[in-house]
Amino acid sequence: MQVAVSFQDIIFKLQQFWAEQGCAVLQPYDTEVGAGTSHYATTLKALDNNYWAAAFVQPCRRPSDGRYGDNPNRTQYYYQFQVIIKPAPQNPQELYLDSLKAVGFDMAAHDIRFVEDDWENPSLGAAGLGWEVWCDGMEITQYTYFQQVGGINCAIVPVEITYGLERIATFMQGVESHFDINWNGKEGEQKLTYGDVLLRFEKEFSCYNFDVASVDILLEHFSDYEEECRRLLAHNLVMPAYEQCVKANHCFNLLDARGVVSVTERAGYIARIRALAKSCCQAWMESL
């Protein structure tokens, strides 16, 4: 049997492992993003020709995935552990497998497979080739060699490794629900679970995302962020502009969850966000 590893232990061990590989261990981006890829430490830093290696936890917001805390495996807020290294080293798969060992996976007992899954993020104009990594049939990681970001071909190909922390934790702790994950590794009265930390958050945000968020205010915010992004780009302030783009993206996701975006409008919104992201990426490249 697996030795139970707490949620925070998994994070500590991954941080420790990737720090030893030379990664700067960063903190999450302090604005709402849908994935670790949206952290400027991935998007913008992946783009230029400088060496870059970073690892960090990123809380992710996917408003449409909320289930009011009723679904054991699907939530509108969850954690990714993101590793980005540029250029990708010559043995990234071995490093990844070593990181699983470092977390406590018994590689002789589990069926680890790299199953084709080419990754694409249309609103960031980003695409890459890679796999989802399966452990005994469960996807625990997304592994990608970036080929394009912001519509620009990568001159130096980075590797991005994105661990689904909740999945790894449920797996290692042998629990069925995210909310049952042991967060702090204590038992008895001192035990804090994922549910203790996040269940109320999940319920209230599901209500906000689906039922209560003001559509008018969101629409206004979207236009404001879009306008501000362009204005900041005119001042050549790429990182602040990019942040506005990320915020616009989250606004769109909220509008989508509120069910007010029709199919045709959807394509329009995505195109607008992509245009912003692309402008930011281009400005980043030109400013180097």
Partner: protein, 681 residues
Amino acid sequence: MQQELLIELYSEEIPARLQKKALQDAVATFSKIIDSYNVSHGEVKSFISPMRLTLLVEDLEGQTKASVERKTGPSISAGKQAVEGFLRSNNKTANDLIEIDGYYHIDIEMKIFETRTLIGDMIEDFIAKMPWQKSMRWYLEDQKALSAFWVRPIRSILCMYDGTSPGVYLKSVGIRTCSHTYGHRFIAPAAIEVSDFEDYKTRLEDAHVMLDYDKKKNYIDMEMTKNAAGIGLCVGYDEGLLDEVAGLVEYPFIHIGVINEEFMKLPPEVLSTSMKIHQKYFTLTYPDSVIAPFYGVVTNIPGTDVMYDGLNRVLRARLSDAAFFYKEDLDVTLEAFAPRLSNVVFHEKLGSMSQKIDRMMSIADTKEEHRAIALCKADLLTQMVGEFPELQGTIGGIYAKIQDESPELCVAIMEHYKPANATDTIPCTPLGARISFIDKIDSLVGLLGIGIKPTGSKDPFALRRTAIGIVRLLCESNDSILDSETLSWYIDTLVTAYSDQGVPLNPHTVDTVKEFLIDRFKAFMIDGLEVDQDIVNAVVSGFGTPDLDYRTTLDKAQKVKHIVTLDGFGTVKMAYKRSVGVIGDCADDGSDTECWKSAQFKDKHMAGVHDAVLALGKDDSDFSDIVKASSAVLEACENVLINDPDHGVKMANISLFREFVNVVRDRICDLTYIANRAQGE
């Protein structure tokens, strides 16, 4: 000296769905490359597993072939200086000059190369030319540059020629070829020194890599069947799933897992689709085909208890989702879903699915048809179809059954997408066939009507597949209502229905649709039924477009396909051709075309033709009467002046030949379209 060449490109995991095609592409690509280097060789073989693509060339000659290249020089009339210059620059003398078509040429013996020195270039060419459907580049540390394109990063290249390693550096991937490979990533990861292919294969087998793709598939199929039989169960053969799981393991280990009893209340289609699509598990059944609470799975390393727990747990999570969708869906009736189809886009220019339903209704005749059309698309709004789009129709049928709709209606909903392609079965109920027919014609009319057309391999709206579906319903359905007349009427009605909805279609839509269908019909006969193109053209033109009768045309095509293989067909073809020539030479002057009937043919050859034509029956079962008449016709053509100076005789002759042509055309087809066939074909 002929020797074996072994090359293995060891990479990160090659996607399973690309492996089967890669096997063929690799052989074709590398064979071409060796030929381009002018080296003779034996068979080229390829092998694939997730982490390697291997090439084996048998009997590869040690040197390039001796050959000459002919070089064109100055014109014969050119000055002496030019000729001398030409000779000097090629190191030749005047004796070597060859005169052809007014120009001097010389033959230059090509330099002979040692094959060993070309192997590096051959591998470089192979990397450049191997046609992966999707490929990528990665960063080469030593060159500070990006690699060539390959399906996934290449990490090592084994190359052995004549028992030794040429050890060449391949710049495009920054790798020097070596004499070792690696075994199974988790079971035997150490480097393995290799001497030749036999050695390579054996050592890999020992290191848990099954190199032969088909053998791996068969092994999985057999072991799975055996394990299932051990507990009294069967495994349905699923070629696609076998390909996928074989492509995901270097060595297959089989396990039978358990499905929690609580999920067995889910419809079997949902269970098996969820297991197959999400988990790549095989569905097991009892001998009476009822789905059993077990699944088959292929793993890449030997099973352990924690692994089995994990595999069961993932399935539980997946099926919990499915059970949740199922429960939520059943809270709403199909009728209640149906109005929401106004939010589902059929095509942005053609409106919503609910508008599609309205148009289909304009054709519906019976009460059953109305109800089937009203409900057939409702499942698009269910969560289950949202999760498994491939279950559209199936889910609708299942839910309809739970709602106590009539069995006929449930089956009709379930099968109204059929036939999904050229080989799928057509709906087995008349109601299902009719709904499918109307649905497909509506799609074709709308999409062609706004100018969408498939180009090359691109057919995003599956217009070709839709058209083949219509054609097959016309040809194969037992429902006699589905004929060309109905087709024509439906097309007209649907064009009107679009226009009533305010959707503008091109003015020539009706003809466009009919022509498109005929084109697909021809392609279906050629590709699907292996009827030769000339026969297809002959029978289709014989029936007159655009309102041809599909079923009769198809029967005719099958018949002609048979007739052209019969003895004597060459004679018939020749006689037909000459007769057509005779008729054409003598312009039709409007005289009595039936005059051969009353005419007296004094010439014995023409009398022979007359007798033979009179003997021609209407019956198709026998071909010998036509052959007989044809021989008589040919004999007459050789011996008689058809264009007789006597007008009456001439007219009788021509009228007789015309009758022969008419009978042959009716009973076979217009043979002018039919190419000659080799004897005995």
